[in-house]
Amino acid sequence: MEGLTLSDAEQKYYSDLFSYCDIESTKKVVVNGRVLELFRAAQLPNDVVLQIMELCGATRLGYFGRSQFYIALKLVAVAQSGFPLRVESINTVKDLPLPRFVASKNEQESRLAASYSSDSESQGSYSGVIPPPPGRGQVKKGSISHDTVQSRASAEQQESASPIVSPQQSPPTSPHTWRKHNRHSSGGNSERPLAGPGPFWSPFGEAQPGSSAGDAVWSGHSPPPPQENWVSFADTPPTSTLLTMHPASVQDQTTVRTVASATTANEIRRQSSSYDDPWKITDEQRQYYINQFKTIQPDLNGFIPGSAAKEFFTKSKLPILELSHIWELSDFDKDGALTLDEFCAAFHLVVARKNGYDLPEKLPESLMPKLIDLEDAADVGDQPGEVGYPGSPAEAPPSKSPSMPSLNQTWPELNQSSEDTAIVHPVPIRMTPSKIHMQEMELKRTGSDHTNPTSPLLVKPSDLSEENKINSAVKFASGNTVADGYSSSDSFTSDPEQIGSNVTRQRSHSGTSPDNTAPPPPPPRPQPSHSRSSSLDMNRTFAVTTGQQQAGVVAHPPAVPPRPQPSQAPGPVVHRPVDADGLITHTSTSPQQIPEQPNFADFSQFEVFAASNVNEEQDDDAEKHAEVLPVEKASDPASSLRGAKTDSKTEEKTAASAPANVSKGTTPLAPPPKPVRRRLKSEDELRPDVDEHTQKTGVLAAVLAAQPSIPRSAGKDKKAIQASIRRNKETNTVLARLNSELQQQLKDVLEERISLEVQLEQLRPFSHL
């Protein structure tokens, strides 16, 4: 095929047509569908069309490249002029008029005329004007013979004459784009009945806003579309990647959009949104979105799954990348599904994008899923998960104080109270369903204030934050594109840590404070083992074992079986954080709380028992001891390990036990073995103290000695029986704990043994050397 030479007018005309057909914006290949429509619009018989296609090489290639397209256009002109179709004729036929594409292009052309003319909308020129191509370089496209469309266009153009902010003349783009948008979807349907006007319409719609250089609707607001793009839009293929091609989607519409609703939505939207935040969704728009939502998902409170949404928005022919970004912005809770709010936001973004607005980096406030004062407020209110953050800071403080479950209850209030525009602190939360409430709490905490440090809420948020810290921090980071408040949330995540540590510190403080009330015996040694739940007050045990207090132990009134020191203290919490404190606690509080405390593993008692088992006979209460004794025996090796820490502990125990013993004597139900047990406990924790063993035996003896007194008193009154039962139970728990600990020790020892043996084996060969 020889080269094609085109006149300037032809060149321009063809390039316009090419761009018109080039809905994929590839600038290289036009869509077959469009081209075919175009050719049909040329009112040529089908066989001629086929011939043209063959001649230009498209059938050979399978697509219409630019050159093929131009050649085809030229051939169309040739054919229209009545010349026989020959390859040569493309260049030989001189003065060929431009190919005419007639099919109902009147409206389009007239509109084109209007848009291309620098003066204002020439609404009069609508009917049947075919502007001379060369002079205007207009795109001759078949227009859709939708009268409604035309009337809309005219109406809107007239209205656009009313000066909206657009610097250029031109009909507001939103209706156009809307129409264009609709056309994309409805174009498919309408295409078939019509002679291919459908696809023409949409590009026209795009071209027009392009030529109109700026959205009347949007132009006054940020982000302004790059108007130069619009200007160039008509001349060159659209630079903006507005059109993703899905030729199939153009054709096979299961369109959801109705012309009528689009019309109303367009016009009203145009009018109302002209003076507003460009991202705000007007009522009509929202209504339209809702209708669209309903077509996919009849339940307004339900979700549109990602796949359905993907199909739906793919019809808009935006590039996948942009659709992906829109999705990221609009899927507020990142659940892969769109609620009504999210859907409206996404739809709005799509429309805006088609209008030429660049996608924002983060979701505009007006699009955030929240309750907008629309008629569907009621519906939206049912989605507490997404609503309420903006504008919620005011409500946040009151809602914060309740615990998590109550947050749900506060949300409806928030929904109702937060007016749409009063978005004080848009802090979007990426929420997984499980984390919604926790993040709510965190956000509310963030939103309200960081300066609620000492509220009791902190305790909970610290727990929440510990788990949320990571989740929310991560999620916040990911949602950076979505809202502004992330920096706060990022910084926020550090707060939980501090808060958590505060809580911990508070806890320890609280733990120790009661200790301080009672006069502590000599300061306990920091003993790591003391932090165990079954921590025993070995000090007391040792103190007792010094012997002097044994008598005191015996003198203790019967009853309560060995009671762990920590239990006497204000809860195990006290005991655990600080060993030393725990010891003090034991000694100080035990006297007061002796009768009622559960007996933790009072290893002192056990060891005493073991010793006594070795040394002494068993009493009636020996059944108690009997339980203890076997454990004691097991504990003996353990206790043998606890050699070292004797002395100081002994002192402590002495001092500790002294007050304990004294006080015990005063309380009728004080368990005699208690002091012993306390000592044993601390013994247990001071494992390597071998020397304690002897003391323990002494303690054990004391305990055993004390024991006999118990049954006697128990037999006397029911109360005593109950007390003894209690004691027994306590003993049980203590023993069980002791058992487990000893077993653990045994395991450790065995492991050590094994490792040592292995080392020995390794070293053995060398011994021969």
Partner: protein, 138 residues
Amino acid sequence: MAQIAVIAKENYPLYIRSTPMENELKFHYMVHTSLDVVDEKISAMGKALVDQRELYLGLLYPTEDYKVYGYVTNSKVKFVMVVDSSNTALRDNEIRSMFRKLHNSYTDVMCNPFYNPGDRIQSRAFDNMVTSMMIQVC
């Protein structure tokens, strides 16, 4: 300086980003070699322990200049992070949290119906998150 890479199950990269824009090839190579170490670590767990396998793999191997950390998801998508050895301020916890952030962002990307698994990750949100992380590291 740091580099972060997301590698698919079939061991092709889904996302690679490094802060010093030069020397990317060297980083690519390091990530590639670290895949072996990752595979070794996850295979060492054995099939029975797949559920208990921890996602964070820890320090894969240290070189003179860099330390390479690994993280693998349950779907065998791997995250590899290379940090400067001179960056001693980075603790293990921080690395863990960074990986967790990565994982969450990756999940977000997957949730996007417009993302086809196996495509390169082009999500802006993901990019922003990675940028912020790198700024934090460097």
